[in-house]
C-alpha cells in the first residue's frame, strides 16, 4: 500500500515500512504544476489544506498505463461504493465521439490524526555522500550480482569512488566506479559539518543491503534523472536521492548485518 498526499502545490507518494524493522521507505515529491493543466483541491480545512489517501499502487499503475495514449486524463476523488480515485481518460478514436474509459481505484482516506506518519523524512547524518554512476550501468551490474548473492555491499568515499561488492563461499565480485564526484553538502546547516569535514577522503563508508531492494529501486527508474546521488550512513542506512525536473525521489534502504 502506498500513501498519496495532495497539497495545493505538490503531490507526494509515500511508502513507509518502518526502516527500523528492515523495511524500505520512499518519499517522492512532484510539483503538480508540472503535470496538470488544471488542479483543484480542497483539503480537510483551510489550515490543513491537504488530502491524504491510501491506495494500492498496482491499481493506480494499471489504470495509468492503459491511458497512456489518451487525449486527456482527469483524476478525481469521488465517492462510489467507497471513496475512489477516478481516472477518466478520453481516448483517441476515428469517430467524432471520443471513447471514454474510467477506472475507479478504491482508496482509503487517512484521517488527520495519522498524518504525522507520512511527513518528509529528514536527511540522515550520513558519512559519505556521492553521485551515483549511470543508473542503467548500475542496474546491469546489480542484476548480474543478484544471481550470485542475496546481499550486496555498497561502499563509497569522499574521493568519488564507489564499489559494489558481493561475496559468497565460492566467489566474490567487486565492481569499481571512479570519478563519480561528491555532492557539496558542506553549507547545509542540518549536517553540522562535523562528521564529513574531518573525514579521510579515502575512507569508505559502507552499507550491506538486501540486493532485491536495490534492484527494485533501480528497476523503477524509467527516466534518466538529472541528479542521482546516495548518502551512506556507515552500516546503517543507504539513502538514495533522485532529482529530475520537478520530481524528487528519496529511497531509504536499511543496512543488514
Amino acid at each position: 500500500m502506498c500513501v498519496l498526499r495532495l497539497t495545493p502545490d505538490n503531490l507526494f507518494f509515500v511508502l513507509s515500512e518502518k526502516v527500523a524493522n528492515g523495511g524500505v521507505s520512499m518519499w517522492c515529491e512532484l510539483s503538480q504544476a508540472n503535470f496538470f493543466d488544471e488542479y483543484q483541491m480542497e483539503g480537510v480545512s483551510p489550515e490543513d489544506n491537504e488530502i491524504c489517501l491510501e491506495v494500492t499502487p498496482e491499481n493506480l499503475s494499471r489504470a495509468l498505463k492503459t491511458v497512456q495514449s489518451a487525449k486527456s486524463v482527469k483524476v478525481k476523488l469521488t465517492k462510489k461504493h467507497c471513496p475512489c480515485l477516478t481516472i477518466a481518460a478520453e481516448l483517441p478514436t476515428l469517430s467524432s465521439i471520443s471513447r471514454v474509459v474510467t477506472h475507479d481505484v478504491p482508496v482509503d482516506v487517512i484521517p488527520r490524526r495519522l498524518w504525522h506518519e507520512f511527513i518528509e523524512p529528514s536527511v540522515p547524518d550520513f558519512d559519505v555522500s556521492i553521485y551515483l554512476p549511470p543508473l542503467k550501468t548500475m542496474k546491469n551490474v546489480v542484476d548480474r550480482m543478484k544471481n550470485l548473492s542475496n546481499f550486496l555491499v555498497i561502499e563509497a568515499n569522499l574521493n568519488g569512488e564507489m564499489n559494489l561488492k558481493i561475496e559468497t563461499d565460492l566467489v566474490s565480485v567487486t565492481t569499481h566506479f571512479k570519478d563519480l564526484g561528491n555532492p557539496p553538502w558542506g553549507d547545509d546547516s542540518s549536517q553540522d559539518g562535523g562528521p564529513s569535514q574531518g573525514r579521510d577522503p579515502d575512507s569508505m563508508a559502507e552499507a550491506r543491503v538486501d540486493i532485491r531492494r536495490l534492484q527494485q529501486f533501480l528497476m523503477g527508474q524509467q527516466v534518466n534523472p538529472s541528479k542521482a546521488m546516495c548518502n551512506i550512513v556507515h552500516q546503517r542506512i543507504l539513502h538514495l536521492i533522485l532529482l529530475h525536473e520537478d520530481v524528487s525521489l528519496q529511497y531509504f534502504i536499511p543496512a543488514v548485518a
Binding site: 483539503g43 489504470a63 478525481k76 469521488t78 477518466a88 478520453e90 469517430s95 465521439i97 484521517p111
Partner: protein, 395 residues
C-alpha cells in the same frame, strides 16, 4: 477422410487451433459435407467454440462418404503440430490431414521446404457430437466491429479478469468489469469503457440490455480475428441467453458461444422489461466539470470538512444473480431430457467457483438435423478477405 491445406491457410488453421485451445482441452473434429468442423467446449459447458472450414478452404477435401465420422483428441497434441506460427509461415508448404480409422489415428503431415516431411500421428477417441444450440438470426442486438476496436477495449482490463458486463443503449456500448461478491467491492478497481455506435461497422440495438460473461474465453477469438484481420460480429439477447461472437469470411466461419449470467427473477419483476438503469453517457464536454459535485466527506474525525457527497453511479443490473442456468428460449423440444438433468445439477453450483455459475444448457447431445444448427454463414454474407495468399483453391 483426406484434406489438404496449402500455403497461408495452414497458418490460419493453426491459429484456429490455438484459439480453440483457450476454450477447452479437447478438440472435436468432424468432417461434414459443408466443411471441416473443429470444436471445443470448456469443462463447465459455459463456453463453446466452433470453426467451420468450407471445402474451398482446402486444396483437396474428401470425407468418408458412407458414414459420419467424428472424434476428439487432446488439443495440446494438435497444438504441437502447429507449434511455431512463424516457422509454419516460412517453411510449411502443405498440410495433409488423413484419417486412419483402423488404427484410430489422425495423421497430420507437414510438407516443408527442401522436401522435409513432418508426420504427426495423433490418436483420437470416438466422441459424441458437440453442437451448441444457438440462433444468431433471432438475437435482438447485433454488432460488428473491426477486431482492433475490441482488442483496444479489452486491453484496459487485466488479463486475469474473469467477467465483464456489456450494456447497450441506442447509441452506446459500455464495457465494465463485473464484481460479484459484496465483500470485495471496496477493494476492487472498477474499469468502465464507453464506446460510441459510430465506432462499429454495424450497431443495431432492439432492447437495452446488459449481459455478463467470461472475458478470458473470448480472448482466443480476438487473437484470431486480429491476426486474420477479420471483423468480429456480436449477437446477444437478454441476460441468460448466450452471447455469440463470430468471424466470417468466404471460406471459414468461427463462432464463440458464451453463456451469460442470468438475472435474479425477483429483480426482473421489479424492472420493466429491458429498462435497466444505464449509466449516463459521459459528458460531451469532457474537459469541464463542476468540481462541487466531486467533493466527498473528507475527515470526520476532527474538523468537519467539505462534505457534499458526490454522485453515486447507479448500479447496473445488480449482480445478485440467481444460480439458474442460462437457458435460452432457443432450446428445442428435443432437449427436454437435458433440462431435467440441469435442474438437478443446479444445486451443486453454489459451491463451485464462479465460472460454474454460468452453467448453460444450450447443448444438445443428440444431433438434430443440421437445419437447426446455425453453422451456416449468417446474415449479410460479405466476402471479407482472409489473410491466406491462396484463396482460390483450384482442384
Amino acid at each position: 477422410m483426406r484434406c489438404v491445406v496449402t500455403g497461408g491457410n495452414v497458418k490460419v488453421l493453426a491459429k484456429a487451433v490455438h484459439s480453440l485451445s483457450r476454450i477447452g482441452d479437447d478438440l472435436y473434429v468432424e468432417p461434414q459435407e459443408d466443411g471441416l468442423a473443429l470444436r471445443s467446449v470448456n469443462s463447465s459447458r459455459s463456453a463453446y467454440a466452433c470453426f467451420l472450414f468450407a471445402p474451398l478452404f482446402f486444396s483437396r477435401y474428401s470425407i468418408p462418404s458412407d458414414h459420419t465420422f467424428r472424434c476428439k483428441m487432446a488439443i495440446k497434441s494438435v497444438q504441437a503440430v502447429f507449434r511455431s506460427l512463424a516457422t509454419l509461415e516460412k517453411t510449411v508448404e502443405k498440410c495433409h490431414i488423413e484419417l486412419d480409422e483402423q488404427k484410430d489415428r489422425l495423421t497430420f503431415t507437414l510438407h516443408c521446404k527442401h522436401g522435409l516431411l513432418k508426420t504427426h500421428n495423433l490418436s483420437f477417441q470416438d466422441s459424441e457430437s458437440l453442437q451448441a444450440v444457438f440462433d444468431k438470426d433471432s438475437c435482438a442486438n447485433v454488432f460488428r466491429a473491426q477486431s482492433r476496436l475490441l482488442v483496444d477495449t479489452v486491453v484496459h482490463f487485466p488479463s486475469s479478469l474473469e467477467e465483464v458486463t456489456v450494456s447497450v443503449s441506442d447509441e452506446r456500448m459500455w464495457v465494465r468489469n463485473h464484481v460479484e461478491e459484496e465483500a470485495e467491492q471496496s477493494k476492487v478497481m472498477l474499469t468502465e469503457l464507453c464506446l460510441a455506435s459510430d465506432e462499429f461497422d454495424h450497431f443495431a440495438v432492439k432492447t437495452h440490455n446488459s449481459i455478463t460473461f467470461c472475458l478470458k474465453e473470448l480472448r482466443g477469438l480476438l487473437v484470431f480475428a486480429e491476426s486474420t484481420g477479420l471483423p468480429v460480429s456480436m449477437y446477444f439477447d437478454e441476460p441468460g441467453s448466450p452471447v455469440v461472437l463470430s468471424v466470417t469470411d468466404s471460406v471459414l466461419e468461427g463462432n464463440f458461444v458464451l453463456a451469460t449470467l442470468s438475472e435474479d427473477p425477483s429483480l426482473h419483476k421489479n424492472n420493466s422489461k429491458g429498462a435497466h438503469t444505464l449509466p449516463p453517457p459521459p459528458p460531451d464536454d469532457f474537459m469541464n466539470d463542476d468540481i462541487d459535485s466531486y467533493l466527498i466527506a473528507m475527515d470526520t474525525s476532527i474538523a468537519p470538512g467539505p462534505s457534499t457527497a458526490g454522485p453515486s453511479t447507479p448500479p447496473l443490473a445488480d449482480p445478485t444473480c440467481s444460480k439458474q442456468s442460462a437457458v435460452a428460449a432457443h432450446r428445442t423440444r428435443t432437449h427436454r431430457e437435458e433440462d431435467e438433468e440441469a435442474e438437478e445439477d443446479e444445486t451443486d453450483d453454489s459451491d463451485r467457483p464462479p465460472n460454474k455459475k454460468f452453467r448453460s444448457l444450450f447443448f444438445g447431445l443428440v444431433l438434430p438435423p443440421s437445419s437447426q444448427i446455425s453453422t451456416q454463414p449468417v446474415m449479410s454474407q460479405e466476402v471479407l478477405a482472409s489473410d491466406s495468399e491462396d484463396e482460390t483453391q483450384a482442384e
